[in-house]
């Protein structure tokens, strides 16, 4: 297993490198001299212009420019943004990235969980009309025009039902005079979610080999302890209402993004379950006298899950795309919206920075999903 992980890691690093090289040549391929674009920003002082020129080797031959560019990338320098001058691209990304990551992760995981459970139930109980409706519904959600769907969501839930805010990611009045900035809270939310998930995973892993009663008892206790830990961290921290405000503004965008993506997963799960149910080992599981629930979850679903995870891997790119659209419609200031605004304003360093960020995130997501798949399917660890 470890060998597989290392191998995949190596492959992803190479792919990342190829990607960054392609990004650079894209930059070069622009009509006109990109060097001029960088330098033509009237807000730059003469010294900064010279510094940039030297840093990016803008007056040097191609291969040298490429090497310098890659070098600065590795050092974490993506240039200075035109629009957000004088902030560096990296600082802008650092500010916006946690928000996009939170949105992306939440939507991705939710759409998988929702899609998978729905598909599982759908496959286990058959019914003609039911399936027809869900197929049509699924296809509609799959092909609906995302911005339009987002707008419909806003119209229905924000305007008509007044359930959720219309947009933006925080309520400005609430935050006036707040001791911390939004990013601080975002990062705390991300971290506590990550730690909680990790703890949960470890609990599940550790209790695998115990006998039935002990297993259930310990897992229940584990969940309670984790919950208690979360409360213990958040309640006395004083920033809870800010976190809740953020979560409140997050609900509608997450709902939109999740709904669009879960349909594909649901239909695929259903088909996969139906095919898996015909396998011999399912009959063997029945013969062993296992209860229905165990057969459905431990045997059928566990195997049916595999092609769904594969499609999950491909859906990462779609969720990232959907995220850009969702952020725009909801005026939610994450990396997606930033990238778009930069594109409209022709802020080339920011655009390239956004591309690098998104691409790296996509590749990382891929790596994690690949490893998860290898964990779930022992047969793949030998390829």
């Amino acid at each position: 297993m470890l060998r597989y992980v290392l191998r995949r890691l190596g492959q992803i690093v190479i792919t990342l490198f190829v990607f960054l090289t392609l990004v650079y040549f894209l930059l070069e391929a622009q009509p006109g001299d990109y060097a001029q674009t960088f330098l033509s920003n009237p807000k730059l002082t003469k010294e900064q212009r010279e510094a940039l020129k030297a840093q990016f080797g803008l007056d040097r031959p191609l291969w040298e420019r490429y090497l310098r560019y890659m070098g600065s990338l590795l050092k974490g320098n993506l240039g200075i943004s035109f629009e957000h001058y004088p902030r560096s691209v990296v600082s802008v990304i650092a500010e916006r990235a946690p928000r996009t990551i939170l949105l992306f992760l939440t939507a991705q995981i939710l759409s998988f969980l929702l899609g998978f459970s729905a598909g599982k139930v759908l496959a286990w109980r058959r019914g003609q009309a039911f399936e027809y409706v869900l197929t049509i519904g699924g296809v509609t959600l799959y092909t609906v025009f995302t911005p339009w769907f987002g707008l419909m969501m806003i119209w229905i839930f924000a305007y008509i039902l007044h359930l959720f805010p219309v947009g933006k990611f925080v309520t400005p009045t609430l935050w006036r005079g707040a001791p911390v900035d939004a990013n601080y809270v975002f990062i705390r939310i991300l971290l506590s979610a990550f730690v909680a998930s990790l703890a949960l995973f470890l609990v599940l892993l550790a209790t695998r080999r115990l006998n039935l009663a002990l297993r259930r008892g310990l897992r229940g206790a584990g969940v309670l302890i984790i919950l208690a830990g979360l409360l213990a961290y958040w309640l006395p921290s004083g920033i809870t209402r800010y976190a809740l405000d953020i979560l409140y503004h997050l609900i509608l965008p997450v709902m939109t993004l999740t709904l669009i993506n879960f349909a594909g997963m649901m239909l695929l799960t259903r088909n996969s379950m139906l095919e898996t149910m015909r396998e011999d080992f399912v009959m063997a599981a029945r013969a062993k006298g296992l209860p229905e629930g165990v057969i459905r979850d431990k045997h059928v679903a566990r195997n049916a899950m595999l092609p769904v995870i594969t499609s999950f891997i491909f859906s990462i790119a779609f969720v990232l795309d959907g995220g850009v659209i969702t952020e725009t419609v909801f005026s939610w200031p994450g990396m997606g919206l930033t990238l778009l605004e930069a594109a409209v304003a022709q802020d080339i360093p920011m655009v390239m920075g956004g591309l690098v960020f998104t691409g790296t995130l996509a590749l990382l997501g891929h790596l994690v999903a690949d490893i998860t798949y290898a964990y779930l399917d022992p047969r793949i660890r030998y390829t």
């Binding site: 396998e279 011999d280 009959m283 063997a284 029945r286 013969a287 062993k288 006298g289 296992l290 209860p291």
Partner: protein, 322 residues
């Protein structure tokens, strides 16, 4: 005489398909005594597997039991609900499936799958004790316990077969049904496994039902042999009797269709025609269209399944002499 552990009385089961009702098992009656091994032989589609899965009531959704009883150790299994059947499955009756390769779940370790069966029927068991048991089972079937924690795809075909046998023995059942346990293996492994199965059976005193289309295989391992044709049990007798004094023409046909490596070369006598369509089985005796001894009555009435002396049963209007 040992008591009977399985008694099937006039059991009939049909499959409801889009094309119609398929008469898969028709009015089958047989009895097996404790510790005995019964071999069921027949062509593909003759109903032997259907009968086997009926005993464990592992029937698919479109299967309907039309009548009869299956008495296992005194209890009639036919009217039992799924929940009630689960207590019998694996714990009292277990099964070795055809193409056992695929009856192991590919994503779990083999040891975990065997322990799962034990856990279900023996309740709260200590994990390390369970592992001990699995190790013992492995040794019993001729597998090295060091392979215990591997995944099914890491095993060879023969190993997987043995693992499945070990799994079938896990809950110490009274009856094991082995459905073509060696068909998917090459001849040498087949031979080994058969020998070991027979030895195991004698050692543990488990009752066995072997199902195969290969009469040579059946002859090796069974005390009694039952011949099935088109959903009906046409002959049932001790192994010796079947071979030397077959009563039903189909049985005789099976014997002569079997070439002998030693002995004089003779022409292979095959049984003409094809097995009937069970959607619309032939009237009277189902074998009559292919039988060279068929007479009027064979076409009109179904022959009774009766005893021809010392437990040799057959259903035929024109039984063979000698």
């Amino acid at each position: 005489m040992a008591e009977s552990i399985l008694k099937i009385e006039n059991f009939t089961m049909h499959y409801m398909t889009k094309a119609g009702e398929v008469s898969a098992v028709d009015n089958v009656s047989l009895e097996i005594r404790k510790g005995e091994s019964l071999g069921l032989v027949g062509e593909s589609g003759c109903g032997k597997t259907s009968l086997a899965i009926s005993i464990m009531k592992l029937l698919p959704e479109n299967a309907v039991i039309k009548g009869g009883h299956i008495y296992f150790d005194g209890t009639d299994l036919v009217p039992l609900s799924e929940d009630e059947m689960r207590r019998f499955r694996w714990r009292r009756i277990s099964m070795i499936f055809q193409a056992a390769m695929n009856s192991l779940n590919p994503v779990y370790r083999v040891s975990d799958q065997i322990i799962e069966a034990m856990e279900t029927h023996f309740g709260n068991i200590d994990y390390s004790e369970a592992r001990e048991k699995v190790a013992n089972l492995f040794r019993l079937v001729g597998l090295d316990p060091k392979f215990m924690d591997q995944y099914p795809h890491e095993y060879s075909g023969g190993m997987r077969q043995r693992a499945v046998i070990a799994m079938a023995l896990a809950c110490e059942p009274d009856l094991i049904i082995a459905d073509e346990p060696t068909t998917a293996l090459d001849v040498i492994v087949q031979d080994n496994i058969l020998r070991e199965l027979k030895a195991l059976q004698e050692k543990l005193g488990t009752t066995m039902i072997y199902i195969s289309h290969d009469i040579a295989v059946i002859a090796e391992v069974s005390h009694r042999i039952g011949i099935m044709y088109a959903g009906k049990l046409v002959e049932l007798a001790d192994a010796e009797e079947i071979f030397h004094h077959p009563i039903h023409p189909y049985t005789a046909g099976l014997m002569s269709a079997f070439p002998s490596i030693i002995g004089p070369k003779r022409e292979l006598v095959t049984i003409p025609g094809e097995p009937p369509d069970l959607l619309n089985p032939p009237s009277g005796c189902r074998f009559h269209p292919r039988c060279q001894y068929a007479t009027e009555v064979c076409r009109e009435k179904e022959p009774e399944f009766k005893d021809y002396g010392s437990g040799h049963m057959a259903s035929c209007w024109n039984p063979l002499e000698g």
